[in-house]
Amino acid sequence: MTAVAPEPSLVVEHPLQRPRLPKLAPLIAAVIAAAAAVLLGLSLGWGVAPIVVTGGLIYLVGLSTWSRLVENARAATDRLVTSLVWTALVIALIPLISLLYTVISKGSSSINAKFLTWSMRNVLDGPGGIYHAIMGTLIITLGAAIISVPIGLLAAVYLVEYGQHSRLASWIRFLVDVMTGIPSIVAGLFAYALFSIIVGPGTQMGFGGSVALSILMIPIVVRSSEEMLKLVPTDLREASYALGVPKWKTILKVVIPTAMAGIITGVTLAIARVIGETAPLLIICGATDSVNLNPFSGQMASLPVFIYSSYQSPGANPEVLRQMAWGAALVLIIIVMALNILARVLGKVLSPKTGH
């Protein structure tokens, strides 16, 4: 490596090449900035956070000033922006790492056989289990999938095969997009209002949760299925028509099976999206500490609501229940991640081996 800060005279010696900072300049600047910040911080008795912030600022200012002196203003701006982009990345990822670390470190200690097979019924002191919440989450989400998948898939078929560019189809497409933005708590209030009118005031049941979640799930299923159906080559359809197969049979036997891999992936991702929803279930499903496997009667526990209520209103044993909340959060994250991985794997395994 040559001199850290080249003399200005070098410019004259290489008239065709602009002076550049050494390749390792960012690293050098970082080391100097870190050292300066630590020295300053230690001498003033700061904590870790101010030292890091100061170090970052010294780095940003120092590197761009250095570049401005040696290179030029444009290069200095470029270096500044580059540093800012990387800083943004680091700032965005630190909380994620902290979050995952916290959930895993706090949650893993509560997970054991009892935690997964017990409910909270008659549990007074000491940890109980989340079996009732896991079953509730599975039943409610299954119900949501049973409602959403047929409606969503058929609507996607309508958009791609029948409606295409008709006025109704473009309205549906547009409103489905808007529908993806419905706040989850509004979906919960809708289900609550619906069942209050149909069944009776204040009704809470698991099926209501399924209805609320399907409001959130249908638009995702429609969008992903639509994309997948659009990918099916027109040649396939036309070949089928040429053989005299009616359109509906072509769709059922040719188009949907061809797009099946993508559709299943999309549905799995949609399930992963709604399985962690808390707000609607808090309103329409309520909470219970016993196992309830009947979605049409009585309150039903679910993992997200269990996490929320265990942390927010733990009752007489706050420490134990907060610990359980972290454990349940870990279980929930594992379920969501497993669904995401499943979606990727299904997408790979089921996709047609031969490219069209």
């Binding site: 990345l89 994620l96 409606i151 209002a193 962690g276």
Partner: protein, 306 residues
Amino acid sequence: MKAGSPKRRLGDLVFSNLTRAAGLTILVALAGVGIFLLAQGAPGLTAGKEDLRGHANFLSYVAPLVFGTLLAAVLALLIAVPLALGVALSISHFAPRRLATVIGYLVDLLAAVPSVVYGLWGIGVLGPKIVPLYEWLDKHVGWLPFFAGPYSNTGRTILTASIVLALMVIPIVTAITREIFMQTPRLNEEAALALGATRWEMIRLAVLPYGRSGIVSAAMLGLGRALGETMAVALVLSASNVVTWNLISSTNPSTIAANIALTFSDATGTARNALIASGLVLFVITFVVNFAARAIVARYEPGRKK
């Protein structure tokens, strides 16, 4: 195909109507959300003092909530959009391909974490950790109305809630903007570089103008998400349903969604109707924001058949 046998045509007729019915079901459901909220919320519009937690009428009850909802969401957006653009650019233009893939996975992971877990992290980790920052802000820039203090000693402030919201918005904005950045015509980028532009100049001249409408609509979609997010705010915020610009004190405005989650189980009768009516207000706000966002996408991107 139209000239098929009657039997075939019957099959087509049934199936096409079935799919159309599914499409119409979605429209009906969306209308149903509005109608049922209105039906159950209407009695709440005329609710009295004792059903509105001490507020004189529905308007004075919901106005501070709307203020809090907008404040938290806008703050979240101010934090999230620059960071998300940085992350998106690092994926599309700065990081080597393998690193970019890893970052992409991590951002997707951030999107997959359920909101209640963010809330848990916000109250359990971020809140206590951020108190020294509030103390510092109170001491040194306390003359700004935003940091007037007295600072919260639990960290359960609207600023903390906004930071948590920002984390949840970042993946959405990143996902959309990185797609758009990657779609920048390669020729435009290469032309800029060939003219001697630095990487930043290339981004400023070629990438950002191309993606401007995409950035705006991504930000608005993020805004929609932040407006309606419930659990993170409900867990983190010390909510008093006031109007204040003070971001670091214990007394904070509440948001519509968090207020519903926090008070729904206590509420009875007309108080529940009032909460449903406030939900209707939230629905209208998010509907308008999302409508505008989608309209922008549809208008500025004629190339994409939507």
